[in-house]
């Protein structure tokens, strides 16, 4: 038995899991319906795939949620995991699940996949015969991903940076890298048997004033870390920035650079997809305004040419959406995509070159690090502040970069911290910023955070 296989045995041998039958699971994956694979869907459909978020504690409620989504015309189903499971606290998750089942109220903010187990969960996945995407935010997702794939969930979101810096205060970074290395390997392993398991990075980060240069660099890095372990179907992503042009520029550059870096690293056979998240920041309280914001995001997604769109709901400012509100958003987005015709191909050469140079510069700084492996280079770069995420709650995050919006709504770098971008690029960014006489930067930032409200 290989070392890796031994590690897997240990991981899945847990008092909260029923025994893992790896042989049976491989057989299941080998024979699984192509319809369960988003990688297959991407390969065979030109339509932008519509995917909401969502998960409930009990099997029945998720089942009903999926039915609702299906009748709204969903393309990809989500499975959002509860926060105890995210923190590997399966005991609490079990207790809360039991309470939820007994009292018919939700005591968890998602589906405790480990407690339900793959044998049960698989029934649902096979029943709906639709690709499912695992949404979690777990630094140590090893057992979760084993269970997900065994259940028939063939897309795994996240990554060592994007599921850590925005989601955690002090989880050790090096551990996150190693745990995710395991996840990549498992995904690569199962990809041999049938269509590829798709991995997706989480580009929205903290969803607040993220400069595209940072988002894109992180997307490319997580893609490379994944491809290095053998994954061959990967989605890079980002979220609506608040400026249409900036979204278009980000999409064009991200598509180009992701391909370039994948090829340079020798992964010419990897399929790369683009995912667009509707506005991830603070939503308006008015539900009709939220609808408008959602539709606007859909139009932009179509303009940037995304392969998949991840939807929000009119309840966003309030709380976890009801299944009805969630399905309504899916139906509206599908309707909007259906009526959008004759979209122009847009580009902005100057901005694209500018962004490309910044991303390349960050990538060079990372790749030039002395360490021997890519993940260590990245780890060092984060510690050195070459990479950081504005509004990350994590203690290791440099917290030096400051961004504000220019008059067109583009997010610009006001203070570059230790970001290794060329001086002239930084000057260009600064030149775009207009701070009205007497207005302090913080006031501007507060205003900029709330632009959709």
């Amino acid at each position: 038995m290989s070392l890796f296989q031994r590690e897997r045995e240990i991981i899945v041998d847990n008092e909260f899991t029923d025994s893992f039958d790896f042989e049976e699971i491989e057989e299941f994956v080998s024979g699984a319906s192509k319809n369960l694979f988003i990688s297959h869907r991407f390969a065979t459909s030109d339509k932008m795939q519509v995917q909401p978020r969502g998960g409930f504690p009990t099997y029945e409620k998720v089942f009903r949620l999926y039915e609702e989504f299906k009748s709204a015309g969903v393309d990809i189903l989500p499975l959002t995991i509860d926060s105890n499971t995210r923190l590997n606290d399966y005991a609490t998750a079990r207790k809360m699940l039991e309470l939820s089942e007994e009292n018919d109220t939700d005591m968890l903010n998602g589906y405790p996949l480990i407690n339900h187990g793959y044998r049960t969960t698989r029934k649902m996945m096979v029943h709906f015969d639709t690709p499912v995407s695992l949404r979690h935010g777990t630094p140590d997702a090893r057992l979760l991903v084993e269970t997900a794939i065994a259940s028939g969930i063939f897309e795994i979101e996240g990554g060592p940076i994007t599921y850590l810096l925005p989601y955690s205060k002090n989880f050790p970074l090096d551990k996150a890298f190693l745990y995710w290395k395991y996840v990549e390997k498992v995904c690569a392993h199962y990809s041999q048997f049938n269509e590829a398991i798709n991995r997706e990075s989480f580009g929205p980060l903290s969803a607040t004033m993220q400069p595209p240069a940072i988002v894109l660099a992180i997307q490319i890095i997580e893609m490379l870390l994944s491809l290095e372990e053998g994954v061959r179907s990967f989605s890079v992503s980002f979220s609506q920035s608040g400026s249409v042009v900036q979204d278009v520029v980000s999409a064009n550059v991200l598509k180009r650079l992701a391909r370039k870096y994948a090829d340079t690293f020798g992964f010419t056979d990897a399929a790369i997809h683009l995912v667009y998240h509707q506005w991830m920041g603070a939503f308006p309280r008015d539900k009709f305004f939220s609808d408008s914001l959602i539709t606007t995001g859909t139009v932009i997604a179509a303009m940037v040419g995304a392969d998949k769109i991840i939807t929000k709901t009119r309840n966003e400012a309030y709380g976890i959406p009801t299944k009805e509100a969630n399905a309504l958003a899916v139906a509206n987005v599908q309707y909007t995509l259906g009526i959008l015709r004759g979209l122009p191909a847009i580009s902005d050469e100057r901005e694209e070159e500018h962004l490309e140079r910044m991303v390349d510069a960050i990538m060079q700084a990372v790749l030039n690090d002395d360490a021997d492996t890519l993940w260590r280079k990245v780890y060092n770069s984060i510690k050195k502040g070459y990479i950081e995420i504005p509004f990350s709650p994590h203690i290791i995050n440099a917290n030096e970069v400051i961004t504000v919006r220019d008059p067109d709504g583009n997010i610009r770098i006001y203070d570059r911290g230790r970001l290794p971008i060329p001086d002239d690029c930084f000057e260009y960014e600064r030149s775009k910023i207009e701070l009205p006489e007497g207005k302090r930067v913080v006031e501007k930032i507060i205003e900029d955070i709330g632009i959709m409200q």
Binding site: Y318, G319, I320, F391
Partner: protein
């Protein structure tokens, strides 16, 4: 005036917390910001350590009630000055619930001021007024 602040529980929503920090300082408070992912015990420890006048808790991800229902019991274990003002604000429930239903619950847990889906500065204005009244 000293304020201890932070986001309670497994909640990582840091944006409001950063803004609260700035706004409190601008209003002349001395701020001890424990950041996100802070547990009730840590808050109470900090109140005692810093001899704070106000404890201002945020919660955004809907978990607040689970973390705060034991406040009264916990308080009784500490030797906290009667005069410390307990404030909580943010998005205080999972799903949707009206403020009328929600505020009395949190008051019963031992909070003096409860702001459910109330804008930051609106809440801090009310807080300042309350503190001024006390001084009179």
């Amino acid at each position: 005036m000293r304020v201890v602040t932070g986001v309670v529980g497994n909640d990582v929503h840091v944006v409001a917390n950063r803004l609260i920090d700035i706004s409190l300082k601008e209003r002349g408070f001395e701020v001890f910001n424990l950041g996100v992912n802070t547990y009730l015990e840590e808050f109470l420890d900090a109140v005692i350590e810093t001899d704070a006048d106000i404890l201002l808790i945020s919660s955004l991800n809907g978990e607040a009630e689970g973390w705060c229902r034991d406040l009264a019991i916990l308080k009784s274990g500490y030797d906290i000055d009667e005069r410390v003002l307990f404030v909580i604000g943010g998005n205080l429930t999972v799903g949707e619930m009206s403020a009328e239903e929600l505020i009395p619950r949190y008051e019963a847990y031992g909070f003096d001021l409860v702001f459910h889906q109330v804008d930051l500065n609106e809440g801090l204005d009310i807080l300042e007024n309350r503190m001024r009244e006390r001084l009179r």
